[in-house]
């Protein structure tokens, strides 16, 4: 359960980032770190395996493109299945988050 949730959370963060448009792995870490104001730092050791797993599950697809600084980089983007997955994950996360907050009595 814990494992599944952590993984789901990472997936959700990746998918959400990619929903803004195709990006490479490094871009994903930077985006998450910036947007979360440095609160969330993605381990590279988890990011790439996750990206590759998502690609295998056909939730994201990848292609080699030239990055902003002129280097070849592997860009990931959401597939239609990915968009659906993102919606599912978002709703799940919202309800989970609401539930947890209620339990903790924070809200």
């Amino acid at each position: 359960m814990a494992q599944a949730t952590a993984q789901n959370t990472l997936d959700l963060l990746i998918l959400k980032t990619l929903a803004r448009g195709p990006n490479h792995g490094f871009g994903v870490t930077v985006h998450i770190q910036t947007v979360s104001s440095g609160l969330l730092r993605i381990e590279e050791g988890s990011l790439y395996p996750a990206l590759h797993r998502l690609e295998r599950e056909k939730i994201v697809s990848s292609e080699w493109k030239v990055s902003e600084n002129g280097r070849r980089a592997r860009y990931y983007k959401l597939t239609p299945a990915g968009r659906k997955k993102l919606e599912e994950h978002t709703t799940q996360w919202a309800s989970l988050s609401a539930g947890v907050q209620k339990v903790l009595g924070v809200a």
Binding site: F26, E43, E44, P49, R56, S67, N69, R71, R74
Partner: protein, 869 residues
């Protein structure tokens, strides 16, 4: 689909991953650099924050290709890794593969020959029940029957269910557009069926073709059929000119056929024995008889059953001859392998020795390598490489070396075998048919697997122990390696000593004094079997014409013709006991045979044989009555003691006239190179008695090689259909040495490999010792040991196990040489000089091999060595 593609292109996937990580790292480093870090620090920081790229790598891979395929992929990667690490150590790899290929190749080639000599059955359907049946007498080197006896012995039916006969192989001529001298053998029409051999084309001889005076028929050997008649499937029914007479080709023999005497036989012709005449002893032929035992009949029973027949034979011969003969029944298996058996075992021994040396060499290399890589192994293990993986890695390296070694070995074997076939003398059973077949393929594969497994199972070589770290290189491993080198040296001494004895034999054979000055003599021989030479007068005329022609050749100082030249005879002999001197009968019990040779007057001058008394023949001696003969010194002394033989007379039993002794010639070798000589009588080559069909002309002159060619032209001018063999006298002798030369060459080849491998072994172990003790040497030097002392210390390490190996080898050599005594001539099996020479040679070789590492140890810089760790 994508995954399959990715799996197929595993390397691309790797590259992509690496590139992706690289990009990430660079971006991260660029970020740090913007924050003010130096480029170097920023890179280090990026790496640090990234963590282990290899783990990501591994995870990503596992994800892409699934866990099941991962082991296969791991194995594949380890093989690639093994390949790379072998390539990084080219000397080690090449030596391993070379040692394996040499050992395995030699083993496979020799085994393919030895296999047929020692282990496979003869190429006959009824091989196990075939026996040679005959009488053994000093006249011939193998058992024979007289034609009349053969005819009578055929009646024996209790022990034998068939008796058949052949002649020895003899020269015969195919007189066609391109005349050629071939080897024929006469066989009874019962021969092929009794031996269980079926012609592959046509048929066997019919009984009526085997009758006296039936027309000539011929069965071709497979080789003649293929090479001379292009494998024509319609060949049966064609006619050829055999010895100038038309002969009908009736069949073709299978390729696997071997004549029972192992002579190379090109054509079989019907025996056509006139049994009625032979039984009355009006004509006496010698045949080789072969019988087939009834199922379950023992040799002893066969002997008992033939005893009455043998007694009948004894009754027909003179009492003095009776003592010298005995009945001999030999299984064909033993008979055919008799010659090659000793050589076969010697070869097998040699190849096992080479294999052992090669093996211990490889084992040693691997032990050293495993020890020197103990640290690498330990590190890999610490980094999480599983034991399985390390095993796979070692296995992959061994396997790769083994595969290359096998390939190299098999090609080497094929090459060696081709060389054997070209250089080997006749009389090695099955050699012409030996090939690298499936059996050899599996044999070499088995040897390979066993040797590789044996190496892998050596403590510390194959299976790495992750926990033992640097301890593998401890004293136990060193002792094992030293023992291996000791064994190598011992085996090398054994091999080299054996080769040395054979080379010694060869030299002795080459230096055999046969009483003839062979330098500057050219020879030509032909057989007058053609109907053109049917009468004695025809043959006499040919010889006269030939001599006249040869005298006209440029630079010729002497010309002679004889039926055969020393150290051989034409195979005609009489019993010493049948010779009466000065009219008195021979002393009772006189044993042995006397050779007869027919010569023309200049024979002694042409061959440089000294005439000790009297004179040589003159034309007046031809057809004179009483006749004239020249005796060999040995015979003269035996007949007349210290008296001058000239002026005495002799009469061989059954000869029509008495002969006056007109001269005595020095002894010559006349029973082959190694056999005991026989006394000899020279008759003039005249047209009174039987001018022999065999003609060997000798010409003494300045350029024997040129003369030989001119002789061939001269004979062709007289008779263009007569095949002739020409060459300097030396070539003739060389052919007699063929077997000894083959044995010596083969064993020397193996000994060469052995010594090379042994030297490599000594070098490898010492070099390893030095690299292992580098620190110790450094400490010793720092503490004041001189360079000389260090070198001495290293050399003393060699000395002990070298000395042990040499001593063991010398002892082994004494024992082994006793086993192949029959292959030696002029040297004893325990020849101290040969063994001493070999021991010194190998000691020097090991010293040379030890020199480089010892020197390296002595020139080490102690401070550098000590700082190294």
């Amino acid at each position: 689909m994508n995954q399959w593609w990715a799996r197929l292109r595993g390397r691309d996937l790797d590259r992509e991953l690496r590139e992706e990580m690289q990009f990430h790292l660079e971006m991260r480093a660029a970020g740090y650099q913007q924050d003010g870090m130096t480029p170097r620090d920023s890179q280090a920081a990026a790496h640090k924050s990234f963590g282990s790229t290899s783990i990501i790598h591994e995870d990503a891979r596992r994800m892409h290709i699934g866990a099941a395929a991962s082991l296969l992929e791991t194995a594949g990667r380890e093989v690639a890794l093994a390949f790379r690490s072998l390539r990084r150590a080219p000397a080690f790899t090449v030596v391993s593969i070379l040692a394996l290929a040499l050992g395995l190749g030699g083993a496979a080639a020799v085994f393919s020959v030895v296999d047929r000599i020692l282990f496979r059955g003869l190429p006959y359907g009824n091989r196990d029940r075939l026996v040679s049946v005959g009488v053994r007498a000093p006249l011939a080197d193998h058992a024979f029957l007289l034609g009349g006896d053969y005819s009578e012995w055929k009646a024996e039916r209790a022990a034998l269910d068939g008796l058949t006969a052949t002649t020895d192989a003899f020269d015969c001529d195919l007189n066609e557009a391109n005349p050629v001298r071939l080897t024929c053998a006469g066989v009874a029409s019962t021969f092929l069926p009794l031996f269980g051999v079926d012609p592959i084309l046509g048929r066997n001889f019919r009984p009526e073709e085997d009758l006296p005076k039936a027309g000539a028929a011929v069965i071709l050997s497979n080789a003649v059929w293929r090479e001379r008649y292009g494998g024509d499937p319609q060949i049966a029914g064609h006619r050829v000119q055999l010895n100038g007479e038309p002969a009908l080709i009736v069949g073709v023999l299978p390729a696997s056929f071997e004549f029972p005497t192992l002579a190379q036989v090109d054509l079989l012709v019907p025996l056509q024995l006139d049994e009625a005449v032979e039984r009355k002893r009006q004509a006496v032929s010698m045949v080789n008889a072969f019988g087939r035992l009834r199922p379950g009949c023992s040799m002893a029973r066969a002997g008992a059953a033939l005893q009455p027949f043998y007694e009948n034979f004894l009754a027909t011969i003179t009492p003095s001859f009776r003592k010298e003969v005995r009945l001999e029944i030999t299984p064909l298996n033993d008979l055919m392998r008799r010659h090659a058996r000793t050589a076969g075992w010697a070869l097998l021994g040699a190849i096992v020795a080479v294999l052992l040396i090669a093996w211990s060499n490889i084992a040693n290399l691997w032990l050293a390598r495993a020890a020197s890589r103990a640290r690498e192994t330990a590190i890999r293990a610490a980094l999480g490489a599983g034991k399985m993986r390390l095993l796979i890695n070692r296995g992959a390296e061994l396997g790769l070396v083994a595969a290359f070694g096998w390939l190299g070995g098999l090609s080497l074997a094929a090459g060696l075998l081709a060389t054997f076939r070209k250089t080997a003398p006749a009389g090695i059973v099955g050699l012409r048919h030996a090939s690298i077949d499936l059996r050899i393929f599996f044999f070499s594969g088995l040897v390979l697997v066993v040797s590789i497994l044996a190496i892998a199972l050596l403590p510390g070589a194959g299976a790495p122990r992750a926990d033992s770290g640097g301890r593998i290189a401890g004293s136990r491993g060193m002792r094992l390696r030293n023992a291996l080198v000791t064994a190598q040296l011992a085996i090398s001494v054994l091999l080299l000593a054996s080769a040395g004895l054979l080379l010694h034999t060869l030299r002795e054979l080459g230096a055999v004094q046969f009483g003839v000055q062979t330098n500057g003599v050219a020879t030509a021989s032909a057989v007058l079997g053609n109907p053109r030479y049917h009468t004695i007068a025809d043959r006499y005329a040919f010889v006269q014409q030939l001599q006249n022609g040869l005298r006209r050749l440029p630079g010729v100082t002497a010309v002679a013709v004889a039926d055969e030249l020393p150290p051989l005879t034409a195979g005609i002999g009489i019993m010493f006991g049948s010779l009466s001197a000065d009219g008195r009968p021979p002393a009772p019990g006189a044993a042995g045979t006397v050779n007869l040779r027919h010569i023309t007057p200049e024979y002694f001058r042409a061959l440089g044989i000294p005439l000790m008394r009297g004179r040589t023949f003159i034309p007046a001696d031809e057809n004179s009555a009483p006749g004239s003969v020249i005796l060999s010194d040995r015979l003269a002394r035996r007949l007349f003691g210290t008296d001058d033989a000239v002026g005495h007379s002799i009469k061989p039993n059954g000869f029509p006239k008495t002969y006056n002794v007109i001269g005595v010639a020095a002894d010559v070798k006349n029973a082959g190179l190694t056999a005991e000589d026989a006394p000899e009588i020279y008759f003039p080559y005249d047209n009174s008695r039987s001018a022999p069909r065999f003609v060997s002309a000798v010409v003494r002159g300045a350029h024997p090689a040129v003369l030989a060619r001119l002789m061939a032209d001269e004979i062709r001018a007289i008779d263009p259909t007569l095949p002739v063999v020409v060459g300097p006298y030396g070539d003739r002798i060389a052919r007699l040495n063929q077997r000894a030369r083959f044995n010596a060459a083969l064993l020397s080849f193996f000994a060469g490999i052995g010594i090379l491998l042994a030297a490599l072994g000594v070098y490898g172990v010492l070099a390893f010792l030095v690299s292992l003790r580098m620190r110790e040497i450094g400490v010793r030097m720092a503490l004041g040991a001189t360079r000389g002392r260090i070198a001495g210390w290293i050399l003393s390490c060699v000395m002990r196990w070298t000395a042990a190996g040499l001593a063991l080898g010398a002892a082994g050599a004494f024992a082994a040489a006793r086993q192949f005594r029959s292959m030696l001539y002029g040297v004893g099996p325990a020849d101290p000089w040969t063994i001493a020479f070999v021991v010194i040679l190998l000691a020097l070789t090991s010293a040379l091999a030890a020199y480089v590492p010892a020197r390296r140890a002595a020139t080490l810089d102690p401070s550098a060595t000590l700082r190294h760790e």
